[in-house]
Amino acid sequence: MTLLLLIPLLGALVAAMAPSDRIARWSGLAFQAWALVYTLGLALDYDAAAGGLQFVERLPWIPAFGIDYHVGADGLSIVLLLLTAIVSPFAVLTGVRAKWQVVMVLLLQTTLVGTFVAVNLILWFLFYELSLAPAFLLARSSGTPRAAAASFRFFVYTFLGGMGILAGFLAIQAATGTFDLQMLAAGGGLVEVALEAGFGWPFAGTLVFACIFLGLSVKVPVVPMHAWLPDAYAESPSAVTMLLTGLMSKMGVYGFLRLLVPLFPGHMAALAPALLALALVTIVFSAFTALVQTDLKRMLAWSSVNHLGYCLLGIFAAAAANGTDAAQTSATNGVILQIFNHGLTASALFAFVAFIEKRSGGARGIGDFGGLRTAAPVLAGLMGIAVFSSLGLPGLNGFVGEFLIFAGTFQIAPWAAAAATAGLFATAVFLLNMIQRVFAGPLGGHSAGFRDLTAGEIATVAPLVGLMFVLGIYPQVLIALFHSP
């Protein structure tokens, strides 16, 4: 497990010492390939039938404060580790060229892995917060004033959220005396009780819940904590946006599943109607905002928010069920699948945007193109598959997750599921509209003289598109990891 953390870190060191950008990039990719193989090995070794935390390693780190180096992985962690191992090299292949950027991607990968395996609250926070530094530097790498402003806002918003989370963790430790997530989670709702008793205020538990909830909400983001997102996604180089949406947004969703659900079951259940309403606002608002975007990247950014909204819907619905029935299982499984699928699909979509930008000289307005299908059939075909995966077409990966979420939610909170379909509808409209205007019709705008994908680019995206089919047709490969029959 520790080796998994060390591989990207070593990669960053080696890349930093490389004499040229080219060598740095390839040595970085070599380490990422090693990380991918190692992660696959872990996934195969993971005993899903037994479940629970495996590959646990624990060493005292700051004994004075009860902070241990304590890592381990359960099915959920493994899914996210796989996603990290797949998307990070994909982003490097797509459009990370400079040496320092390769180093930063590898450092970001290290912190992501750390977040997904940490079992101590402070260790978790360390990785969660540390990811900001490389992400910030990557997001501003184009150096334009707009990118600088966007990345600044991204950093400060998320940092503010991080302080909320840290304050919450400290309160939990003050009340319970431990940072050990495994121990805290095993106590069920005892954390809530301890908080009320420890501080002696009636709403102490709610306050701490709110701190952590708001902090994680900024990261995902949940509307209305999303103000940093559109600019940050649009002004970052597309390869970086892949990492932001494909992986970093998942840190927030993971936090909901890993922290709030086990530690605050009472609050999650009691506040369920409000939380579901928040998820609905996120879904509907983002879908309709995407509808009016004219910039391809901004549209996809809002679409990402929309897809993460479904994750939230499933999480909140499952928490509202407050039992262990089939509907809850369905919603939870859907959420985990959706996390993985959205990571895959959204990063693939931004990769295609990167390819388009490279050819159009940076133009990426939806109206800047037309008839791209004729000029670049392979690009149109492959991107079309990713778009349909994002739409949730059966047979592709996006469908199964959303279906399970809706199926579960419908049984628990029919009104929420019904209202969320408005988001599905709007998603269909804007994605199809995009296909219509960019790919179909007569050749126009920047489409003239457009080069199709090169062999290298096809090789880059083909494995992902293949995975979309595999997971669409046989999602069991993933489900088996976190759901024991």
Partner: protein
Amino acid sequence: MILNATFLTALAGAGLILLLPTRLAAHARVVALVAALAGLGFAMRAFIGYNPADGAFQYVTRVPWIPQMGISYFTAADGISLVMVLLTGIIAVTGVLFSWNVTRGPRAFFAFFLVIIAGVYGVFQSLDLFLLFVFYEIVIIPKYFLIAGWGSTNRQYGAMKLTMYSVAGSALVLLGLLAVWAVGGARTFDLLELADPLAGGFAPSFQAWVFPVLFLGFGVLAGIWPLHTWAPTGHVAAPTAVSMLLAGVVMKLGSYSAMRVAMTLFPDGLEMWRVPMAVLAAAGILLGALVALAQRDLKYVVGYSSIAHMGFVLLGLMTLNPLGLGGATLQMFSHGIIGGLLFAVVGRMVYDRTHTRQIAELGQMNLSATMPFAAAAFTLASLASMGLPGFSGFIAEFAVLGGTWRAFPWLVVPAGLGAVVTAAFTLRALQASFFAPRAAGASAAAHAPWPPISMPEKIGASVLVACAIVVGLWPSVLLEPIQRSLGSPLMSRLVEGGPR
């Protein structure tokens, strides 16, 4: 003796420099470096050799000095002192490295520098209040000459303001100490005897007024809000090495002595004034950060950030629990390293080359390309300063916040917000001065090439960055002796519920 050797080598170095013949004056820096390195060596040896399991004082030297007044030469160190002694050694060495380019009056400059270092070492190891006060005063006067003689912007004003504040603070301290001696009736300056609970302690009514006098007197040097205004102007006016000394160790003299003397001697006074002082500390964190956000001069940004960071120290002290007290001590070390590094980059690497510190002007110089080393060092220092995990500042501020949750949950909000504003202003300064988007048509080549970053600068910056990261990843190396010493008979009086 190994402990006393720290300040004795500094004094010896200063004496040797003054004896240098004029033709060798340029070598004063070499002598200073050797003396600083030797001091650091002794500090490290003492730190490693510290072993009492109960956190008691070690390396005790006790010689009667003026027995009629109960004054003795009494030095010793516990885990807390040794952490500060170690910090002093590191700042002394890096301060000399960042002064390698001082050519005007090098003998006086380095001699004053070493005298300050000696005084700082002395304060951190004195257990006799009179001796402590002597060392404390030794620090103040050379500061004035260094700033007024070698400083930059508005140096006369800055130097005078700083000295006036320091002297006023010392006057309060002296008043408090004399009251302890005379009114308290103990007729001794021995801290351990005075603090011994078996001696009966001081009357609560006496403590009620002496505690704030002593605490605020020391607090002036620690930059406690609202007595902090000397710090930003003083830091800005001072030459680089002196800014590093001020932020790195001199401010810690105040917080260290406040903890070691004012808080241990007057538990009842502490109890009465605890909440107001904690509020001042939190105000310092938040207001210091907000003011830093509005600065246009890069050095002022760093200057005000020191106020915010020292606010965390003072807040941690007021929590009176091991988490907060340990965090406060660690924060003293951490801010010493990080603040020193920030001033080194701004004052030495950037200002000495560009001759401006206006953020807007620096932004047009494309510093990230023309001075990549300075940009990288400032980036790391910024990340450390905003308390990002993995750097020493995180563990320290995290522990202070954790302690605050237990003592004053309602102060977590301003302190946490202060930390966020700290991140905002640090990032703003970093972005606007080193990574500013270039205005169209502006040519960076007009400014470049600067003289390259020299080897002493590189070594100094690397040492400080390494310290911040090592302590960030392995805080136990410092925390373990600190926590042990918080359990000693003297210091455990601070911990709520401990012996009073």
